[in-house]
């Protein structure tokens, strides 16, 4: 019961984010991405959000020009995963303010930070959007301040996340 990997693929098949929670070699990763883009991008609208693939299931959802995909075991809960995707998208949306693909391209590293606050080990880490937003804001402050000086870092994050 775990998410094996997360992929963000644009409608043109460009990869915008990949995160692998199960061990895949570089070669396998490339193959998986190629295979799945083929399958998912070619699916029409109004179909279900699940694709059976190599004994696993890929849950995907399209938001504007981006496909968010998460791969789970065949007996895992599909709808639960689908809503994890939406939860992640809502958090991105709240952070970037009406998020679009371009935000995720130029701030791909932010997307990784945020994902790390939503999922760990392929499991949902935090289901409160507020809580995630607080942590990310604290991180941003840390980075901002880091330029000026290191100071009492831990105090600051403690305050920011209280």
């Amino acid at each position: 019961m775990t998410i094996h990997f997360v992929l963000l693929i644009s409608r043109q098949g460009k990869v915008r984010l990949t995160k692998w929670y199960s061990p895949y070699t570089q070669k396998e990763r490339t193959k998986v991405i190629r295979e799945l883009s083929g399958v998912i991008l070619s699916r029409g609208p109004k179909l279900c959000n699940f694709v059976e693939w190599r004994g696993l299931k890929v849950i995907y959802k399209r938001y504007a020009s981006l496909y968010f995909c998460m791969c789970i075991d065949a007996d895992d809960n599909e709808l639960e995963t689908l809503e994890i995707i939406h939860h992640f998208v809502e958090i991105l949306d709240r952070y970037f303010g009406n998020v679009c693909e371009l935000d995720l391209i130029f701030n791909f590293h932010k997307a990784y930070y945020i994902l790390d606050e939503v999922l760990i080990a392929g499991e949902l880490q935090e289901s409160s959007k507020k809580s995630v937003a607080r942590v990310i804001a604290a991180q941003d402050t840390l980075i901002e301040n880091a330029k000026e000086q290191a100071g009492s870092l831990s105090n600051m994050i403690a305050q920011a996340t209280k």
Binding site: E78, E83, D116, E126
Partner: protein
Amino acid sequence: MALSGMRGLSVFISDVRNCQNKEQERLRVDKELANIRTRFKNERGLTPYEKKKYVWKMLYIYMLGYDVDFGHMETVALISAPKYAEKQVGYIVTSCLLNENHDFLRLVINTVRNDIIGRNETFQCLALTMVGNVGGKEFSESLAPDVQKLLISSTCRPLVRKKAALCLLRLYRKNPDVVNVDGWSERMVQLLDEKDIGVLTAVMSLLVSLVANNPEGYWNCVPKCVRTLERLTRSQDIPQEYTYYGIPSPWLQVKTMRVLQYFPAIEDPTIRRSLFEVLHRILMGTDVVKNVNKNNASHAVLFEALALVMHLDAEKEMMSQCVALLGRFIAVREPNIRYLGLENMTRMLLVTDVQDSIKRHQAQIISSLKDPDISIRRRSLDLLYGMCDVSNAKDIVEELLQYLTTADFGIREELALKAAILAEKFAPDLSWYVDVILQLIEKAGDFVSDDIWYRVVQFVTNNEDLQAYSAAKAREYLDKPAVHETMVKVAGYLLGEYSHLLARRSGCSPKEIFIIVHDKFPTVTTSTKALLLSAYVKLLMHSQPPEPELQELVLGVFKKYESYVDAEVQQRAVEYFALSRKGASMMDILAEMPKFPERQSALLKKAEDTEGDSAELSATKLRLQQQVSTALVVSDAKPNGASAVPLTRLSSAPRNIDQMGLPEVAPQPPPYANGAVPRAAPATGAAPPAPPAAPAPAPAPSPADLLGDLMAPLAIEAPPGVGPAAAPVASTPASAILALEAPPSAGLAPAPPAAGDSLALALMDGPPQVQPIGSIADWFRSLSIKESGVLYEDPLIQIGIKTDWRGPHGRMFLFFGNKNAAPLTSVKAVVAAPSNLRVQLTTVPEIIPPRAQVQSPLDVVCIHASREVPVLDFSYTSVNVPVSLKLRLPVVMNKFLQATPVSAPDFVAKWRALAGPPTKLQEVVRGVKPLPLPEMADLFTSLHVGVAPGLDPNPNNIVAAATFYSETGGATLCLIRVETDPADRTQVRITVATPDPTTSFEFKEFIKEQLIEIPYAAAPPPPPPAPSPASMGLTGPAAVLAGLI
């Protein structure tokens, strides 16, 4: 939102985006990579800012799909940076670029650990996240205790604790030994009281994994889980931020219900009642609403509740409510719900007594077969396949046939296969079955595998009533304008064999048949050509008295192909030409095929093999469990079916050809059994590739058996008897050894009737009785002195061992071979090591596919001398029957011994130097197994203790020496003298001397054990190796475990 704040990075990203084509992009990327490479070479000149920038660029390039094969070291190094900004980049990029097996990760374990145990909360978070995402086995061993501490710490904030919970989950997955059940299950109960929903969700994920591995260990968590569920469904003190579209954390609800599905039925009536109340509320209280997300979330909970209801085996009424609910779902417009409705209905098939209520929805399910969404079509196909029985087979199969013409290519082969299986299994009459298969070939010839038409030939051969009918049908199909090659094959075969039964019908004279068949000849491939030549010679043989015209035609064809480029066709042409001149004796040789022995349908096997793809509880597996002989393929009791064939004069004719025909006409190892070609082909296909099913040479082989024997080597890859286990990985030397070992041991085993035939066993109706085939104790004993062999075997699994010992180190390969036609699931192997050994088992995959073998290396290090051995705790589930075993592993003391030649003066000097206890120990042992002296010497040699003959002046004594290797003691020289009494062989005096007291004691006890005939319980199911007399002295976990065995 401001851009990244790194201008260089943004510029690079823009550049890449502005590239007109892939080529330009590659150039730009290559330029950047070259730049980064040169900058990294000269690292000292880099500012922290630049380092960060380049590392981000690398990640971006990597994400675009380019190989980034350098810079990993620089990335990893950032983790050790003192500042948050750099550390963060290091941690995140490392966990994206490297996978858990990457060597560089090991380099930072210490840094990571320092961050985890340090005071800086932000560093803790970064480290826990990284380990949780890519931590491997080594991380498991070095970090688990620290992570556990953080999780239960009362001073850490929720932010850290939830990360710690999931981090621990990962470490536990990598090595379950790091979380010790004792004590921890109490902790888990406490953790379930957690107020913070974020932490509770993470803890629940952890619990799912723990319970999945070991439900017994966490029973005490059940009440808390039910309470949590109640609280959630009643929305009791759930903070607003943890409700999702008005639903109290749907994820936590799902996870909690998942946990409960791993426990066997809950007995406690109060808990059970409150749980059912909750479930009832979820099932009946979930409405379809407009908001998509709310709908998804509530249905996520609903479907999990359904799964839990099925698991708990609720009352019939609740079950029919569930079916009714699913029936509504499969008819809604929302595709996700429709998909899940079908999927869960298939799962529901496993529940007894609901099949009839499911059948009520048949029409709706059939209409889903035409859904625009392939995911839904697949579910529908699987469900139809699973729910098919005699009552609805005709409808369902006909629907499948109809669908076949429009189905997309991806699904056609599976569809054809499933239709064929159902037609065979549930045919109301045999001619219908033949009709279905012929239609199948006509409609989807490309997707009908050879197995399918082999099977129909088998049927027709074994059922005389069917022969004329199918020949006539085949004749009809050949008249159609476009005929698929597979149709030519099956028609050619059937007409060759049986068209003589039609001879009186118009248009069916042998000559007419020949002409219509030969019409297809020019367009078919060579293998079909060969088959048709056989059909011709059969036609010729059947036309008695000979029809000169036909003879001329057929011989003309043979003549023509005498010099054909394909050797097989050429050979047949030559041979048949010669045969056709033999007159009456030709008839014996070319007589009709005898009946086939009954076999498992190769189709089912195939369906199961190709299945891999669908849900675990797929209908195919269900089918396989239910597989009982349909008795359609009649295995005739008559020893020789030929008596019914008018043209065969000698009832033993078929045997003749097999016996004499083969050696004569098979100058080279034939791809088909030569001379009997048309029969060879179907037989090859029909023989299931399972070695156990290959009939063993019967004492008086009936023709069918003989044929089976002949064909067996063609159909299977492993020599029969090796057991399927060894076959798949036979290329590795280790398993080759195992393969050699297996047959003798299998032969020695006092095999119960079904033992050899795992297949038959797996297909039996009731739960298979899983009993070892042989004595576990004997296997253990034999492995104590051998390096490889069988550790355990039952009808479902064989566990073999191969070991290699070097000083205090040992490597043991455990081979788990699934002998079964169904996969072994929930496979778990844990090794409990005694304190004297350090043992590490690589993970064993959770599923062992049918007839596959997996191997797991086990590393053993001897820390100090002791006779305790590790215990393998092994469990698996086969076709819903859980089996669990505790097996002692033969890591006995002598594995760390090495025979050491010692010269007489040397021996005496050392012997004298060790004066008395505790280094030199003496004991008179009574009740010794009476052995002649040479045999006792052999025993020592087999234990790696080198006997030094002639060293002791008394010929009744044995003096021997060995070196014992351990990690703490290094190499320890062990000397031993055994004084025997020729008058009473049941007692000896042994004296042992080593420089180390513990080793002396253990060594003495070990030798004693070997000399004493250890009493074993006679014929033990399950055979407990009774504790040796010395085991009273055992302490520690191994002793406890040993007692359990």
